[in-house]
Symmetry: C2
Subunit: 339 residues, 2 copies
């Protein structure tokens, strides 16, 4: 069984390896940390850790590096969620302080997070499922083309271009708009969809196909899930940590750009006691990211939930990054209205 000191050894191995990128040996441990025992004793502890598959040796005669399981134990039991430095708090304040709209807030947040962690940062758009319809507007683009704009009471804006089979005069359009607004403004998303599906245009049957087209587009907009959208920043950091990936980082970057994979990954992550959820190395193998770790936390915007987090090599500074993810998530929730 691994002793308490053994766990201390694991902790310093993780810390030193993360800091130096070099396998750490028994000698350097006793040199750098005051364990009060000799290198040979540490070696015995390390032999136990290796038996438990918490550390491994890249080559027969070299220092040890943590395994995925080692990182897991570190994250679950050994990492101290060190609070952000005043400078970092300051950075959050000034960075997110005044942003114009939701888009900009999210872009700033994701950049901030990538700067705080030196990793790739990701922020998912909040869903609009709990929002209510605030206003519907139609903008004629050409004779047969209109832009439909849906504004929700949580401040979200959804746009769609509608191609009409034939021209629709402005007068009718205004009428349609007024009628539809009356029909759905104030309704929740689900009710609004239902109301639209049932709507019939009285008195002018030949317009019905047009109306159907418009209402179905609107229904589509209402049902649109903005949660399928991610903002990303800090891809350059992935290049910086390239050596931590055995192969090329090409597939990793590809997966990030693809977004679909990451959205699934985000969806499956649970929130643990600290509010930050961590998935390490091969735990992500199913998503094609067997050498990456992902830290996420949930945040809320006007009662709508979404996630944000960072992605980087398994060898990363978990303590700092978990704290940063948590801090940004909290600040963002506060900024966007926690509810």
């Amino acid at each position: 069984m691994v002793s308490d000191r053994g766990l201390d050894v694991l902790r310093v191995i993780v810390q030193d390896y993360v800091a130096s990128r070099e396998p750490v040996g028994s000698k350097s441990i006793v040199d750098r940390h005051a364990f009060g025992v000799s290198a040979a004793t540490i070696r015995n502890d390390m032999a136990l850790l290796e038996e438990e598959d918490l550390i491994a040796a890249p080559h027969t005669s070299s220092g040890r590096i943590p395994t995925d399981k080692g990182y897991r134990v570190f994250v679950d039991h050994l990492a101290d969620l060190r609070p952000l430095t005043p400078a970092q708090r300051q950075a959050i304040e000034t960075f997110l302080g005044h942003a114009a709209d939701l888009d900009e807030v999210l872009v700033r947040s994701v950049r901030l997070l990538s700067q705080l962690t030196h990793q790739v940062a990701l922020v998912q758009y909040p869903s609009v499922s709990r929002a209510k319809v605030r206003h519907i507007e139609f903008v004629p683009l050409t004779e047969t083309r209109i832009l439909s704009v849906l504004i929700t009471d949580s401040g979200g804006v959804e746009q769609r271009v509608i191609d009409l089979p034939w021209a629709l005069d402005e007068q009718t359009l205004v009428e349609v708009r007024a009628r539809l607004n009356v029909a759905v403004v104030g309704l929740g998303m689900a009710e609004a969809r239902a109301a639209l599906a049932a709507s019939v245009w009285p008195g002018a049957p030949m317009l019905q196909p047009l109306i159907d087209l418009i209402t179905s587009t609107l229904a589509d907009q209402i049902g649109a899930n903005r949660q399928d959208k991610l903002v990303m920043a800090g891809a350059a950091n992935l290049v910086r940590t390239e050596e931590d990936f055995s192969g090329s980082i090409y597939p990793v970057l590809e997966a990030i750009e693809e977004q679909v994979v990451l959205l699934r990954l985000f969806g499956e992550m649970e929130t643990d006691q600290h509010g930050v959820s961590v998935s390490i190395g091969r735990e992500n193998a199913a998503f094609g990211l067997p050498e990456a770790s992902v830290l996420t936390s949930g945040y809320s915007a006007n009662g709508n939930l979404a996630r944000l987090g960072v992605l980087g090599p398994t060898r990363m500074d978990y303590s700092n990054n978990m704290a940063a993810v948590r801090a940004v998530a909290r600040y963002l929730s506060r900024l966007l209205g926690e509810t």
Copy 2:
């Protein structure tokens, strides 16, 4: 002086080097291309090309690679803008076919362009300077916070969150909205700004500070230049071509994410006779990209201009990429309303 055959030699050197990434020697030229002369003759031509600084030898005894100047001559005089393959045209159609809104069109375009060229692709948002105000909407978020939404007749939507110094009741807000709509709807952006600056709220002087805040925000929205926004795709391609950059690609990726540098670069590029503008290698040194080439073309959306293009290593397939940039720019212009 460089003969016609000499230019042919330059052409095949560029083509072969781009294809193989290996310095090309006189022997491989006569092997692979039917020049009808011996390797020694080609060597003489190559000596001339080297004198003109169009090609260079990485090492004393190795094949030659094109210099920046060599690429320049190739692009200006030797590249055949080969038309897209039917498969590629097909890809454009299906890829851009039905997209919901401007955001989605641009995202799809940039992904498409990166797939066609296997490089990093960039699309600048079209400006809204020529657009007219279509509608203004206010959405109360909290007691003292409202979202202001500006819709233009070109289909653009600008949002801003306004923090009020004290609460504003819904009734007044509706009134303000109606009044402002009357004041600016239908006006061009410049006129609308002027109209707002002059607006005074009659009858309730204590509301004036609030009104000022709102109108100044609106003016800000109207003046917002969406052209300072870029969409990017295909960063993974930069990793794939990493060996073409002598140092790390880190600063390159950083510059791309920074956007500011690229927007300046975009701004300074001219449109040449093909409609595609090319900036090669050290021509971009001032932007911190001395080993990259940038191809751009303008496109128009409802009369508003913007640029789009690709960025990659100097060693890239200019013929194919110029054709792709041009094709996507044209298709996008058509899709968004050329005017």
